[in-house]
């Protein structure tokens, strides 16, 4: 498990909320680049398995596509490069497209990290206190998905033994699948009612229930929460003062670089790189301890 994933679920959730809210809703190329850099570094450390090159190619394709298609939707801007069907394709529109592409890809990569870190058990833990019934539905549905697939497998094999799926024709396959699915639905509904009865017999719905939880809020969680809150607050303050404002239309404005803007960039850079720093520290510590053995 990664160092960041060991944090308390509340802290992880607030972290992703703060880092993604800025990445999604601020139009500023510097913020976009920082966000992409941080998310990619984090993602590279989280995903150990292959397919990295394929995914990188996919994201690059998305970026190119969004960039080149943006001039189709907007003819704003004062620097026409060339004309298509009498409509100007402006430098501003292309650059704005590149900025949107940056935002989209970085948010997608953050979401990838989110899925890897916020596993369903953590989500359930967070929901369990506020909406216990919905959290119960969530945990049961998650458990039913693999169960249904296993049962469907069993059903198909039984039906084959009974002589269904006898020919490869399309009609026969559909007829057999429909009868399998029908049996599956009937079986799972009965199973659900029996589970419900068993729950009642075991005292579901009584008052004073306790929750199972494996998470403890430790000092490290508090420290990281405070650091995030301060950094995020700084960025929000800068945003409300307008020091991060950047506009593409009608003309590209200068990148804001006064004192407060630079402080905001630094603050956001620290938030974005926080998981990377935590992971790297863990790796270094691991290597150090191993070297002492």
């Amino acid at each position: 498990m990664s160092a960041f994933a060991k944090l308390h679920p509340t802290v992880s959730l607030l972290y992703f909320a703060s880092v993604m809210s800025v990445a999604m809703f601020v139009t500023n190329p510097v913020i976009g680049l920082i966000s992409l850099f941080g998310s990619v570094l984090f993602c590279l450390l989280l995903t150990v398995r292959g397919k990295k090159i394929k995914e990188a190619l996919f994201y690059i394709a998305v970026m190119v596509l969004v960039t080149v298609t943006n001039p189709l939707f907007s003819h704003n801007g004062v620097t026409p490069l060339f004309f298509i069907n009498g409509n100007p394709v402006t430098a501003e529109a292309i650059l704005y497209g590149a900025d949107i592409a940056l935002m989209i890809v970085s948010v997608m990569v953050w979401c990838k990290c989110f899925t890897a870190v916020m596993t369903s058990d953590k989500l359930q833990y967070l929901l369990g206190r506020i909406v216990p019934q919905i959290s119960l539905i969530l945990s049961m549905a998650l458990r039913f998905v693999p169960m249904l697939r296993r049962q469907a497998n069993k059903l198909t094999r039984t039906q084959k033994a009974m002589g269904m799926y006898s020919s490869d024709s399309y009609a026969e396959r559909i007829r057999s699948s429909v009868s399998s699915i029908s049996v599956l639905i009937g079986w799972s509904l009965e199973n659900a009612v029996e589970t419900g009865k068993a729950m009642r017999a075991r005292g579901y719905g009584l008052k004073k229930r306790t929750h199972y939880s494996d998470y403890r809020f430790v000092t490290q969680d508090a420290v990281i929460l405070i650091i995030c809150a301060v950094l995020w607050g700084t960025v929000l303050f800068g945003m409300s003062r307008g020091v991060l404002d950047f506009s593409y239309y009608p003309q590209i404005s200068a990148i804001p670089s006064e004192g407060l803007s630079v402080i905001c960039y630094l603050a956001y850079g620290c938030i974005s790189l926080l998981p990377f720093v935590l992971e790297t520290e863990e790796i270094i510590r691991w290597k150090y301890y191993r070297s002492k053995i």
């Binding site: 993604m20 809210s21 999604m24 809703f25 601020v26 139009t27 189709l72 939707f73 907007s74 949107i100 989209i104 948010v107 997608m108 979401c111 990838k112 989110f114 899925t115 369903s120 909406v131 216990p132 019934q133 919905i134 119960l136 539905i137 969530l138 049961m140 549905a141 998650l142 039913f144 998905v145 169960m147 249904l148 697939r149 469907a152 429909v178 029908s182 639905i185 009937g186 799972s188 509904l189 009965e190 199973n191 659900a192 009612v193 589970t195 419900g196 009865k197 729950m199 009642r200 579901y204 719905g205 929000l236 945003m239 409300s240 307008g242 404002d245 506009s247």
Partner: protein, 224 residues
């Protein structure tokens, strides 16, 4: 206590979000406000579901229907856009009421995205599918008895799903509602919209009667 929380959320949080969005997120304020309002309305629906103490059996049945829609989405993942989720959400709403329909829709979106990838679109998908379930519950008596209403509802929900999701992607791209981009998105998504609508009709006409019969049988067998 929970009732009061829900009421307070609608009273204060939404205007508050609009003010914050206006003050802090200057040119992306519409995207921010729409995202925040969607999340708040989801919270509102969830709290209103929690207000009632539901029987364990009902919760398990909702969970099974959610699992069936996710498994269905996985089985049909090879054909893009062709998924039984809407149909299962609508059937649940018809037989268990509008709240159950909403929860099944929202949970199907949230949980299936654990397999298909979470993204900023997750809350919007949750709300859209939830609302499809909610309205199916509102019109349950008509939908239960008439195949024509069922077909019309299946068609409309496929189109509405596509149109609503495109509103969100337009807002997300431009920060404001760029009509040109919206029309273009709707236009390029047309084949998908058609597949949504057709698959909804096929699945709903196929499964509503059999599932209804099975539920009726279970009701008699277990004396619910």
């Amino acid at each position: 206590m929970k009732k009061r929380t829900a009421a307070l959320i609608s009273l204060f949080a939404i205007p508050l979000v609009i003010v914050i969005g206006n003050k802090v997120f200057n040119d992306k304020q519409y995207a921010f406000i729409s995202a925040a309002v969607v999340i708040l309305s989801l919270v509102q629906f969830f709290l209103s579901f929690e207000r009632k103490e539901n029987a364990g059996t009902k919760l398990v049945l909702i969970a099974v229907m959610t699992a069936l829609s996710i498994a269905g989405r996985m089985i049909f993942a090879v054909i893009p856009g062709f998924k039984p989720v809407t149909a299962i959400v609508v059937v649940t709403a018809i037989y268990f009421g509008k709240e159950s329909g909403f929860i099944t829709g929202a949970m199907s979106a949230l949980l299936s995205n654990f397999y298909f990838g979470q993204g900023p679109w997750t809350p919007f998908q949750m709300l859209t599918w939830g609302l499809i379930g909610w309205f199916a519950g509102v019109f349950s008596s008509q939908l239960k008895n008439s195949r024509i209403y069922l077909t019309v509802y299946a068609l409309l929900s496929g189109i509405a799903y596509s149109l609503l999701m495109d509103v969100w992607s337009t807002l997300w791209f431009d920060g404001v509602f760029n009509v040109r981009r919206y029309l273009y998105t709707v236009f390029t998504a047309m084949p998908f919209t058609a597949i949504y609508a057709v698959s909804n009709i096929i699945f709903l006409l196929l499964i509503t009667k059999p599932i209804g019969k099975k539920l009726e049988r279970i009701r008699i067998k277990y004396g619910l």
